[in-house]
Symmetry: C2
Subunit: 340 residues, 2 copies
Amino acid sequence: MLKQKITLKHIAKELDVSISTVSKALKNSEEISRDTKEKIQAFAKLYNYKPNNIAISLKNKRTKNIGVIIPDIVHHFFTTVIRGIENYANAKGYNVIVCLSDESFDKEVINMEMLANGSIDGFIMSLSAGTEKKKDFNHLKEVTEQGIPIVLFDRVTDEINCDKVLIDDMQGAYKATKKLLDQGRQKIALLTTEDFFSVSRNRNKGYEKALKDNGLGLDEDLVLRLPFMDIDENKISEFLNAINPDAILSVNEIFGIYGMRVVQRKGLRVPEDVSIIGFTDGLLAKHANPSLTSVAQHGERMGEIAANMLIERVESESDEVAYRTKILEPTLIERDSTIN
Amino acid sequence: MLKQKITLKHIAKELDVSISTVSKALKNSEEISRDTKEKIQAFAKLYNYKPNNIAISLKNKRTKNIGVIIPDIVHHFFTTVIRGIENYANAKGYNVIVCLSDESFDKEVINMEMLANGSIDGFIMSLSAGTEKKKDFNHLKEVTEQGIPIVLFDRVTDEINCDKVLIDDMQGAYKATKKLLDQGRQKIALLTTEDFFSVSRNRNKGYEKALKDNGLGLDEDLVLRLPFMDIDENKISEFLNAINPDAILSVNEIFGIYGMRVVQRKGLRVPEDVSIIGFTDGLLAKHANPSLTSVAQHGERMGEIAANMLIERVESESDEVAYRTKILEPTLIERDSTIN
DNA sequence: AAAAACCACGAAAACGGTTTCGTGTTGATA
DNA sequence: TATCAACACGAAACCGTTTTCGTGGTTTTT
């Protein structure tokens, strides 16, 4: 019962013309007479002819596919980025191949190699934790040397010369910390991750700078560095109980939520006794009780920009355009975990 | 500076042998002498030769790509399914092309058509709201008639003959409702969506059946049907204030969270005064306060099964294998929004 | 009426592989 | 020494397009 996909060859044979004539007729070429074109186009429409993407890709060495490699997909921020990429890419006729590195260096390498052999026209990616830890970027270098463009977003590196789009994480943390200071908070705890993450590093810096600008020094006792997976709520609990802060800044959403819970369990009120601000404006922040004031990262916008940068580069003839780095401004979404 | 990708032709010219010899040598064919093979393999390794995926796809009419079409990616359940698909597919050497229908019938059709012209070997998909509403499945029929296999998950339809994997939604709702009844709850509100969703329909049925089996009738006043987007918390508030239930069953996570908040604002305690159970075991349920008892849908498992079904069908020679429908058992994750 | 121009189309190469079949060379067999 | 495998490799077709470059036939120009 299989309706075999119809090809140019079939049409040519059926209509007793050559394959080239069919191809040209379907592109409305001036070379072909009105009569022949109409006949061929009618036949093609009748049998619902659609050119084979693979053959076209092979011919013009353009796949119209974008490879996206992200550390994790069960993560609100990354899904918003993907949505942004999809939006833009689909409108431009591109498909999106998503691969997950699972925060692993090896998987990131394998996925890139799989896709780099003709499957895609370019990459959009955010580095895995493993890669940031290992500081090995040879797989990226090799790909760019082959002329395959890369756009890095969020978790980027200076080691690779390519287009980048990211959030000014330092400014985000600065704004958040300043907000807390302006409200009279003096003992601001920082919940952060181990240091190899570029984003965390920058957020830590913003926190520190805001303190310094306000005449406060960085007190290492107020900083808790957690592995970013397998979060141990007890550690947070011990830490907060030991230092009794009047405010908490968290470099992500989940630490903020945990912090809030610990504080509330102690019988303290949020935001009256302790103000809390997190990063990543996701579902948890929005629906927490009280809702969590957050630094929004504008993932969807980021995805759109990344896709735009990549497609422009893929489609530009001259490959002499300088690489751009687009830095987005973070926004502080004020909710109920801080005083207005 | 572009290191041009090396091809069989390059190797052949460089080593002064034919392309066929190179091809065979790299596949370790018995036809080629030990000496020649070693020479060619060494050269290929040195220059890091990797066959061009597109050319291979064109030749064997297999892309090793799976097309996944889902309504929305910023949605915990779907992301877990994707993760499951990725896991299984990658292990089998397949890539995953993700397209978003955005709950729109038209976008679903466009995406399918884009991918169906050679880009993928098969589809895994969950129907968009638009498609379920319109009940038009011709795009699916056309694809299957072309011999491209489809696996439907979660939001499926009887109209299409293909492999399917889904959760026994009725049983899930039944279990949840029964749990509430067993705890002595008598006035169980149901927060559900408009009726065209197959999943909601089945969950509603489970709710009703549990009531009937326990000698209670279905009281339409206890049922609130909401459009599933642009949720209006006020509607939920009015509804719950009007009927004062002692328990709430929600067909998704978000309605459950809203319900909980409304109840708490009224000064009632969860679960003492009102027990609540939701569907979809996501982040919100886990981190709500109190945490939300939920019916887990095992998205990751679902994705793995779907990928397995699809790949088996793609790779099987005989296309006479009967279509299977795999029904997963839902699990009730008991948390703090119900009494233990 | 011969030369030039134009029209409408086809042949063939190319993209980068895989695979079937054929063939020249070698060594063993009768 | 003639015959025949076995061996090691190459030619060519094929997958489905696009595109360049002919070319035979008609029309226009002089």
